[in-house]
Symmetry: C2
Subunit: 280 residues, 2 copies
Amino acid sequence: MTIETLSTNRSFGGTQGVYAHDSAETGVRMTFSVFVPDHAPGAKLPVIWYLSGLTCTHANVTEKGEFRRACAELGLIFVAPDTSPRGEDVPDDPAGAYDFGLGAGFYVDATQPPFAEHYHMRSYIEHELPELVAGNFPVDMARQGIMGHSMGGHGALTISLRNPGRFRSTSAFAPIVAPSQVPWGHKALDGYLGTDQAAWQEYDACALIDGGARLPDLLVDQGDADNFLTEQLKTHLLEEACTRAGQKATIRMQPGYDHSYYFISTFMAEHLAWHADRLK
Amino acid sequence: MTIETLSTNRSFGGTQGVYAHDSAETGVRMTFSVFVPDHAPGAKLPVIWYLSGLTCTHANVTEKGEFRRACAELGLIFVAPDTSPRGEDVPDDPAGAYDFGLGAGFYVDATQPPFAEHYHMRSYIEHELPELVAGNFPVDMARQGIMGHSMGGHGALTISLRNPGRFRSTSAFAPIVAPSQVPWGHKALDGYLGTDQAAWQEYDACALIDGGARLPDLLVDQGDADNFLTEQLKTHLLEEACTRAGQKATIRMQPGYDHSYYFISTFMAEHLAWHADRLK
């Protein structure tokens, strides 16, 4: 597996790179970014996977996430994948909506035509990209953390819950916690997986927790001025699922904060320190 | 003078706002951003003016500058203006080049047609915007610092040198230090001010220092992998002018860094701490 280097920039005493590769899972060329702090020759560093939200590419968090200072201080590698396959051959939402299709892969392996051919973001994030990163960057794959925002918070939670033991730390900003119960999730899971809701359960963090999946711990920050809180995010459903299950979790409402990178960047360093504590 | 609030976002325990107003100086509607950290009722905070480089608006540093954490910790208000007048009536570079016209006001008051009507960025930054900000935000105008990047570094240096005593602190990232001696500056000063180079001198930091203008101190960071260093920035000319004049200055070459916000963001917090020390 070879990767193409699209750009590298020195930043915070490390290297911020953007890379592309031909993905077997999605059948198209995929782009991702990796920040590697300076480190001793031969050293392997813990790695944080950051999954982005609707409409995003790797670029949003790479430019606006303010993660590099903390990653450099804590010695963390930070990987930011894209949120869907892209390209002329990749089917999009028929109406061109922002919440399905391009930029909205929802971290599922689609089973429904015409999406089943390219929309394999679950397998891409769970298998193909980790292999690629492990083969090309100085990552210690025994020390992985995962985090995400909104749709990417959904991705981080569900991928971590389905892969017990792989991620020592899991956190999210404003995650979709129960896609089976909200409009964004209904549209996406219906479109990618079909109407049989039994197939949706492994892509629903609250359903996975209710079904017995567990994490060592969980950190979630949610802004109480987030326009999507009431209809799409419903953070209280995650709080209730964790309480029912005895799942250890810190779920914080942050007064005045919205759904933007102005919110994410504010709490990014704190999340990374929390991950680093668990990745020592 | 009234301002329109285009957006506000809570961030790092403060408010990041974007505002617009009808500018008498430029004759068009101008946009700028202001970050105000939380503060005691009635308190007035020191203010940092950040002038951006070629092609930028207020948005580049606002999204990618990573200044809010430091401003919140240090209690600094951060103002980011646009880099030129804009609008259908505003003349641009005839060839649409990036280095003249829209996004490239060079912080001068143009005297040449057709630019003289709208391109008054010197007076806008020196007079109109400070009055507007002083009237609408909790700034202590006795404690001002100024900084900028590239063309904005040129702006910060020349505005501070021409207004002794107004700015207690002046710093720059990769500034244009001697526009009279480089292609970017020749094109801009010729186009805005005409071919008589005597009129250029008050817009040339090295010429101002050679002419006797002084600052209390100066901090400059410059990446040694900056593509523009050799032809356009020529940092050594500023070092030489400061040495000739006995001007106190810290001018640092940063190995491996380029001209981008990956560079600026790396050293932003350090610059802001340096300003804060001088604004106490």
